[in-house]
C-alpha cells in the first residue's frame, strides 16, 4: 500500500497544489502579524499570545475547512477527469487500497499546509519583534488538536469528492457547513450538530469556558462519525460500478 501512496503522490506532481496551499495560510498570517504591529501599544497581554490570537481568528472557522475541501476536491479530480478511474481500477489493485492511499495523500497535503501555517506564524512573530520566547509547544498543540478535531470534515469532504464527479458538490457542502462556525460560540448545545464548528469551538474553548462534558461528547461524536463515514465510503467504493 505504501507503493500506492507513492503512486498517488506522483500523480499530484505538477498540479501546483503545493503552491495553492502555501499561499492562503501565509496570507492569513501576514494579516495577523500586521494587526499585531499596528496596535502594538494597545496589547496588554504577552506578545506571542496576541500573535497567536490574531492569526488564529479565521483559520479554524474558515480557512482550514475550506482548504480541506479544496485539497480533497483536487485529489479526487485528477481521476474524475479523463477517465482516470477505469485506468486505475481495471488494474490488479484492491479498491480499498486505492481509497485509503488517496485519502492518505490528501491528508499529507493538509498536514503540510498546517505545518506551513505554523512555521509562518513563528516567522511572522519573529519578524514583528514579538520576542524570543517562541511558544513552539503551544503552536504545535493548537495545530495538532485542530487537525484531530477536523477528522470528520476531512473524511466527509474526501468521500464527497470521490463519490461525485462535479467539483461543486463537495465545495458547496464545505462552504454551507462552515457558515454556522460564527455562531458556534453562542449556540450552547446546537453546535454539536455541525462538525465544521468543532475546530473553532476547540480553539475558543478556553475563552468561553465550554463545559468539559461537552468536549467529551464532541470527542465521541468525532470518533463515531469518522468510523461511519470511512466504513461507508470504503464499502460504497468497492461496490460501485464504474460506468
Amino acid at each position: 500500500m505504501i507503493r500506492l501512496f507513492r503512486y498517488e503522490l506522483q500523480k499530484l506532481k505538477r498540479t501546483r497544489l503545493i503552491g495553492l496551499i502555501t499561499i492562503a495560510p501565509l496570507f492569513m498570517v501576514f494579516q495577523g502579524v500586521q494587526n499585531f504591529i499596528r496596535y502594538q501599544q494597545i496589547w496588554t497581554r504577552e506578545a506571542w499570545e496576541v500573535i497567536m490570537e490574531q492569526t488564529f481568528i479565521f483559520y479554524p472557522s474558515f480557512l482550514h475547512p475550506l482548504l480541506i475541501a479544496v485539497i480533497m476536491a483536487m485529489v479526487a479530480r485528477i481521476d474524475h477527469v479523463q477517465g482516470g478511474w477505469k485506468y486505475l481500477l481495471a488494474r490488479p489493485v484492491a479498491r480499498h487500497h486505492v481509497y485509503m492511499a488517496k485519502l492518505a495523500a490528501g491528508v499529507l497535503y493538509i498536514l503540510i499546509s498546517m505545518l506551513i501555517f505554523g512555521c509562518s506564524i513563528i516567522l511572522g512573530g519573529l519578524l514583528a519583534g514579538a520576542g524570543s520566547h517562541i511558544p513552539y509547544g503551544e503552536v504545535a498543540w493548537k495545530l495538532a488538536s485542530c487537525f484531530l478535531v477536523s477528522l470528520p470534515i476531512i473524511l466527509i469532504q474526501y468521500e464527497l469528492s470521490i463519490r461525485f464527479n462535479h467539483v461543486g458538490v463537495p465545495l458547496a457542502v464545505g462552504i454551507v457547513m462552515s457558515v454556522p462556525s460564527i455562531f458556534a460560540a453562542n449556540a450552547e448545545r446546537l453546535w454539536i450538530l455541525d462538525p465544521w464548528t468543532y475546530p473553532i469551538v476547540l480553539s475558543l474553548g478556553s475563552q468561553l469556558g465550554t463545559d468539559p462534558r461537552q468536549l467529551i461528547i464532541m470527542g465521541i461524536v468525532i470518533i463515531v462519525v469518522s468510523v461511519l463515514i470511512l466504513t461507508g465510503g470504503l464499502l460504497g467504493f468497492r461496490r460501485r460500478d464504474i460506468l
Partner: protein, 304 residues
C-alpha cells in the same frame, strides 16, 4: 489451464432499472487467437468489457479468465491482462513517459518495460512531451503501450481505432496482428466496424442489443453469406459433369453456372478445368458480402 478457453462467460447479464445492456452472454475466447467482438454502437460491447475487467459488477452469470473465476481471483487475473477501454485514459499533466512509469510503479514492474513498450508502439520520440499535447493517434498508441506493460497474456481493446486516420488504423492493425504471432498474446478486440474485425480476427462474436447473435470462426461467418463461384465455361454440359465428379454441387443459371464451393478453391477448379480442355471465360466470387450478412443478422434480431 484445464479449460480450453482463455475467457469464458456463462449467462453473463447486466440489468439496470429500465434497460438491460447485456443479456445472457456466452463468450468463448481461445488462447493465442484474435477474437473480434462485433456489434453496432450501443449493443453492449463496452459494458461487457467493463465487466470483464471488474469495473462493473454483473447482475448475474459468471466470468472465467485463465480458467479462474474473476470475482474471486480478480487481482491475480488482472495482473496478466492489459486493457484499453473506450478512450485512452492518461494524466494530461504528465508526460507520456511519466504516465507509463506511473503504471510501472503501480504494477511493480521494472522501468525497462517503459522503453520496451514505447518501442513497440513507436512513441519513443514523443515520450517527454505532456500527454495532453498528443494527437489522437498518439494518445491511442499511449493507451496501447499502457496495456502492454508487464507483458500481459491477454489484451482487451475496446474500439482501439476510434478516431484514427487510415495510416493510424493500419498501424494499430499491424500491432494487433503481431500480438499472438510475436508476443504470444491473446487479443480481445471490440469494434463496430466490420472491415477492421475482418482483417484481424480469427474468431468473431456478434452482439446486438445485449445478446450474442453469433460466435464462431471467421470462415463460418463468411459461409453464412452463402458464397459461391460463378463460372462461364464451354462446353457447358461437360463442365457440369466434371464438377459433379469432383464433388461440387452445381447450379446452372442463364449464361453460366454457380458452384457451391469455398471461394478459396476457385484457382484449383480453374486449373483442373483447363487441364481437361475446358474453355473458361469467366470466373468470379458471388454471394452476399460479410456486410450484408452482418446487417441482416443485426436487423433480424431487433427492429429499430
Amino acid at each position: 489451464m484445464m479449460s480450453e478457453w482463455m475467457i469464458e462467460t456463462k449467462g453473463l447479464s447486466k440489468k439496470f432499472r429500465n434497460f438491460t445492456p447485456v443479456d445472457q452472454l456466452q463468450l468463448h475466447v481461445r488462447e493465442g487467437e484474435v477474437y473480434g467482438f462485433l456489434g453496432p454502437n450501443g449493443a453492449g460491447k463496452t459494458t461487457t468489457i467493463r465487466m470483464l475487467l471488474g469495473l462493473i459488477r454483473p447482475s448475474s452469470g459468471s466470468i472465467h479468465i485463465f480458467d479462474r473465476e474473476l470475482s474471486r481471483y480478480r487481482s491475480h487475473i488482472l495482473s496478466q491482462v492489459g486493457a484499453m477501454v473506450e478512450s485512452p485514459s492518461y494524466y494530461g499533466h504528465l508526460t507520456g513517459r511519466e504516465n507509463l512509469k506511473l503504471t510501472c510503479t503501480l504494477l511493480r514492474i521494472p522501468e525497462a518495460e517503459v522503453d520496451r513498450v514505447l518501442d513497440i508502439v513507436r512513441l519513443s520520440r514523443a515520450q517527454h512531451k505532456l500527454a495532453r499535447t498528443y494527437s489522437l493517434g498518439m494518445k491511442q498508441r499511449l493507451g496501447i503501450a499502457q496495456a502492454l506493460l508487464g507483458q500481459p497474456k491477454l489484451l482487451i481493446l475496446d474500439e482501439p481505432t476510434n478516431g484514427l486516420d487510415p495510416a493510424g488504423i493500419q498501424e494499430i492493425r499491424e500491432l494487433i496482428v503481431q500480438m499472438p504471432r510475436e508476443h504470444g498474446i491473446t487479443v480481445f478486440i471490440s469494434s463496430h466496424i466490420l472491415k477492421e474485425i475482418e482483417l484481424v480476427a480469427n474468431r468473431v462474436g456478434i452482439i446486438h442489443t445485449g445478446r450474442l447473435l453469433f460466435e464462431g470462426e471467421m470462415s463460418e461467418l463468411r459461409e453464412q453469406g452463402h458464397p459461391f463461384i460463378r463460372l462461364h465455361a464451354e462446353p457447358v454440359q461437360q463442365t457440369i459433369d466434371y464438377l459433379h465428379t469432383w464433388g461440387y454441387p452445381v447450379e446452372a443459371v442463364d449464361h453460366g453456372m454457380n458452384i457451391k464451393a469455398d471461394p478459396a478453391e476457385a484457382s484449383v477448379i480453374n486449373r483442373r478445368l483447363i487441364m481437361n480442355h475446358v474453355d473458361v471465360s469467366h470466373l468470379s466470387i458471388g454471394g452476399r458480402s460479410l456486410e450484408d450478412v452482418f446487417l441482416e443478422m443485426t436487423k433480424g434480431a431487433d427492429s429499430l
